[in-house]
């Protein structure tokens, strides 16, 4: 009995930590409808800042708490600066630009933290007076765990007081529930938003600082925590603070007890809970459907035009360049070109579902990595020849995408994106934990091309044929009735339903097609590298693809190719420079502020006249 109580309390303490991560995020989303991806970075800054403040302050009983509060305050101020300098410019831009801007912040904070705080993992200071343990019904409980439970309850109570007992809180609630009414009341929206962003960031910083004695601080915190924070927010219902608390509690308790039954379940429990909740309640436990769901990219969607003669010439020149490249390029450049081609195919597949399909995926690595693993497993376990493996891989991954997509297309917007993330995470943990079959963390090694394709140049041509073929095939699809129907469903769900289009089915197929092509890319990738590791399925891989698509711009067909090329090239060039993420982050922010159409979008708007001049064919 005592053991179960202790287990329950441990779960509750974890839940309290999770809640502190998530509460700021849900508050910000509720009022501002912003999905703040940089939230995890603020959390990390909170942890580091508190660590150094506590070390710097004279050590007496209260310095710990002063350090924690000061750190939270500093994070809140950083939040205000970010909101006023960057986010404010993007409120009226399409959602994806906001996403891209916050990605830029993640990258910048990541490198600034490395520079300021060092790359070593820091062990958190103990909390004076709460560093012992107490006996509870025959089990030993750390005092600090109990303190966290109390702290989270205090925070919940304090937020409740602010929202219900102050005029400002009433405005915040009004903004969460009914935005129209707010503008009718004549509220200064800018000031309200800054205030909410401050509070949200403050709470996150506080969460980061408070978990120091348990978890310390390291540079991976930002991405590790953002996934959990999103899961909690989505499960609870975006914008609902009690929902976030309940979700954190359910997830943590299921994890705490699930570990007793099935020790492997810890890595996925959270995502399993999310998948189940979203399938049953598409808007989370306490969430409400948006009354007027905005139709993504409606206004800005450019009319798709067939390639003009000049554009075809440009394409032909590109193909010629690809064919002739081995004459000039050295071995190293060929490797780089192979990688660019593979990533371009993968980003094109993500673009395919994100742009024309209107479905943002945060888990595209499931299909890319899935393809890599499918091919590797076929070769490793069944000695499948490369040719057959490359043929079967897209089919296998297409099937996987059909299964995952069946659940995902029931949702839309951020909820859909989060569900893709959940499934990707489930796939990742299967691959990670099923060691006998997938090699677990050690991956699968020695997956080499067939003899005839072994030479670098032959493999280069093989890759180019497959990748260009895949990209052109997807491009072709966009001009067929199927591609048009995808765009129709994205442009207006209402109208497509009323001309007899079954939206879900088309989205489902689009999802599967995108998955299959990402799988093909993964299949080629594994033969080019010779090995595969679970990292190819990890969240950071999914984010790489998102970065490539966003970098290229979601409004042009050439975007993903330009994005993949630019990303790989930048990665290669500036990764020699220690703080390359900082540079990349700045590029992102400059891009969203200065050229919101992305690289390819920017150039195509400059050159559109030239390339779209009427030509008779």
């Amino acid at each position: 009995m005592g053991f179960y109580v202790a287990q329950f309390l441990t779960g509750w303490a974890d839940a309290s930590g999770l809640f502190m991560v998530a509460v700021g995020l849900t508050l910000i989303f509720g009022v501002m409808r912003i999905v703040n991806f940089a939230h995890g970075s603020f959390y990390m800054v909170g942890a580091y800042t508190a660590y150094y403040l506590i070390a710097w302050l004279p050590s007496d009983g209260v310095s710990f708490w002063i350090g924690v509060l000061l750190a939270a305050l500093i994070v809140g101020i950083i939040g205000v600066i970010v909101e006023m300098l960057l986010l404010r410019r993007l409120y009226h831009a399409p959602e994806l630009f906001l996403l891209m801007g916050t990605f830029g912040i993640i990258l910048i904070i990541q490198d600034l933290s490395r520079w300021l705080f060092g790359a070593e993992d820091l062990l958190g200071p103990r909390c004076p007076g709460l560093d012992g343990s107490v006996w509870i019904m025959g089990s030993l409980m750390p005092q600090y765990d109990l303190a966290l439970i109390v702290a989270a309850l205090l925070i919940l109570g304090a937020i409740w007081m602010v929202l219900n007992r102050t005029r400002w809180g009433v405005l915040v609630r009004a903004a969460t529930e009914d935005r129209e009414m707010l503008s009718a009341l004549g509220v200064n929206q800018g000031r309200l938003f800054t205030g909410v962003f401050f509070l949200g960031s403050f709470l996150t910083g506080l969460g980061g600082a408070l978990q120091l004695p348990k978890g310390g601080a390291d540079l991976l915190m930002d991405l590790n925590v953002i996934a959990s924070a999103f899961v909690v927010v989505v499960v609870g219902g975006m914008g609902s603070i009690p929902g976030a608390y309940l979700a954190a509690l359910i997830i943590s308790e299921l994890t705490a007890f699930g570990i007793l039954v099935l020790p492997q379940s810890t890595l996925v429990m959270m995502f399993l809970v999310m998948a189940v909740v979203l399938v049953i309640r598409p808007y989370g436990l306490f969430g409400k459907a948006e009354l007027a769901p905005h139709e993504p990219a409606g206004e800005s969607g450019a009319v798709l035009k067939p390639a003009s003669v000049r554009l075809k010439w440009l394409g032909a020149a590109l193909v010629l360049g690809i064919i002739l490249a081995p004459l000039f390029a050295g071995d190293f450049q060929l490797v780089l070109l192979i990688e660019i081609a593979i990533l371009a195919l993968a980003s094109m597949s993500l673009y395919f579902m994100m742009g024309p399909g209107g479905m943002v995926s945060f888990g595209h690595a499931a299909f890319f990595g899935g393809g890599a693993y499918a091919a590797a497993l076929m070769v490793y376990h069944l000695q499948t020849p490369m040719e057959l493996a490359l043929l079967l891989t897209p089919l296998a991954v297409g099937l996987l995408a059909l299964i995952i997509g069946w659940f995902c297309v029931r949702l839309s917007g951020v909820y859909l994106a989060m569900l893709t993330l959940a499934f990707a995470q489930i796939c990742w943990s299967i691959v990670f934990q099923w060691e006998e079959f997938t090699g677990g963390d050690d991956g699968i090694l020695s997956i080499w091309p067939s003899d005839w394709a072994e030479s670098r140049i032959v493999f280069y041509y093989l890759t180019m044929v497959l990748c260009t073929g895949g990209i052109l095939a997807m491009r072709h699809l966009l001009f067929t009735p199927f591609g048009y129907t995808m765009r129709a469903c994205r442009d207006s769900a209402l109208r497509s339903a009323s001309i007899g289009i079954y939206q879900k089915r088309h989205q489902w197929f689009a999802f599967a097609v995108a998955g299959a092509f990402a799988g093909l890319a993964g299949g080629i990738y594994v033969f080019s590298k010779g090995s595969v590791f679970p990292d190819e399925m990890a969240i950071s891989r999914s984010f790489d693809f998102l970065l490539m698509v966003l970098l290229g711009g979601v409004e042009t067909l050439s975007g993903p190719i330009a994005g993949a090329a630019a990303f790989t090239w930048l990665h290669d060039q500036i990764s020699r420079f220690e703080f390359w993420q900082l540079v990349l982050g700045c590029i992102f922010i400059i891009l969203v502020v200065a050229f919101p159409q992305g690289i390819a979008g920017f150039f195509s708007s400059k050159t559109e006249r030239y390339f779209s001049e009427p030509t008779d064919e």
Binding site: E299, P306, F479, F482, T485, R487, R490, I499
Partner: protein, 255 residues
């Protein structure tokens, strides 16, 4: 069977508000039935129930002799129902012609085709429809940049693309000037008479309603309060009161 639409005891509430309350009416082939009523009377909700976008709390809807309980909009469409929206909904990233082609592709059940390009599909048929509603000149304009009145016409062309038996038009002439308004209604009357389509439409312009409708039903607070020919409805004291009352409050609010 000449009834295209049979609505019985239709009821729908949102939270506490009863938006449509026990409404029953019929519509015959080739007839124009106007549904009028002040703002918030429940007209749009009625339309949404009929085309399957909302599920009724109670009541039945029979289209072309078929019960549509539980049908999604795309299934209702298969029975031959075209719809235009109060707030226009078109495909902003496509040209006017492509919008209509899209509707036509759906009609021919080609939305899953992956070989031919859309550019060459059903162009002539779609141009016919554009001519029918009088926007063939704007064929290559993007829908995102079209004037509101023209968007309404695009919607009409799309609604006509599946050779409907029943046309639901929520304020088809909103955003148009008086001259264009009566011209469009004239055209619509012509089209539906020759094609024998039953039309249910709402309209705030009483001139349009009394000139073009064969029958009128009047909603107020979700309830059907009057039904009859234009003359009968015009003479109905309750209707006059509703409209006078509404006009009166509007005038008071303006002060």
């Amino acid at each position: 069977m000449s009834k295209v639409l049979k609505v019985r005891n239709l009821t729908k509430s949102f939270g506490g508000v009863c938006a449509v309350d026990d409404v029953s009416f019929d519509l015959e082939k080739g007839r124009l039935l106007a549904m009028i009523g002040p703002n918030g009377a429940g007209k749009t909700t009625c339309f949404n129930l009929i085309n399957g976008q909302l599920k009724p709390d109670r009541g039945s809807i029979v289209i072309m002799g078929k019960q549509i309980a539980g049908f999604k909009p795309h299934r209702v469409w298969q029975l031959g129902v075209g719809r235009t929206f109060q707030i226009t909904a078109t495909f902003a990233s496509m040209s006017v012609l492509e919008n209509v082609q899209m509707a036509r592709l759906s009609f021919h059940r080609r939305t899953l085709s992956i070989f031919q390009k859309v550019r060459n599909l059903y162009v002539d048929e779609s141009m016919e429809l554009l001519k029918l509603v009088g926007i063939e000149k704007q064929r290559d304009h993007a829908c995102g940049v079209l004037a509101y009145g023209d968007l309404k016409r695009v919607e009409l062309a799309m609604a006509l693309a599946n050779d409907p038996r029943l046309l639901l038009m929520d304020e088809p002439t909103a955003g148009m000037g008086p001259a264009e308004r009566s011209r469009l209604m004239e055209q619509i009357s012509g089209i539906v008479q020759t094609r024998n389509i039953g039309v249910l439409f709402t309209e705030h312009d009483m001139d349009v309603v009394f000139t073009h409708a064969h029958r009128i039903i009047v909603l107020n607070h979700g309830k059907l309060v009057a039904e009859g020919t234009p003359q009968e409805v015009h003479a109905n004291a309750q209707v006059q009161e509703i409209y006078l009352g509404a006009a009166e409050t509007a005038r008071l609010e303006k002060r």
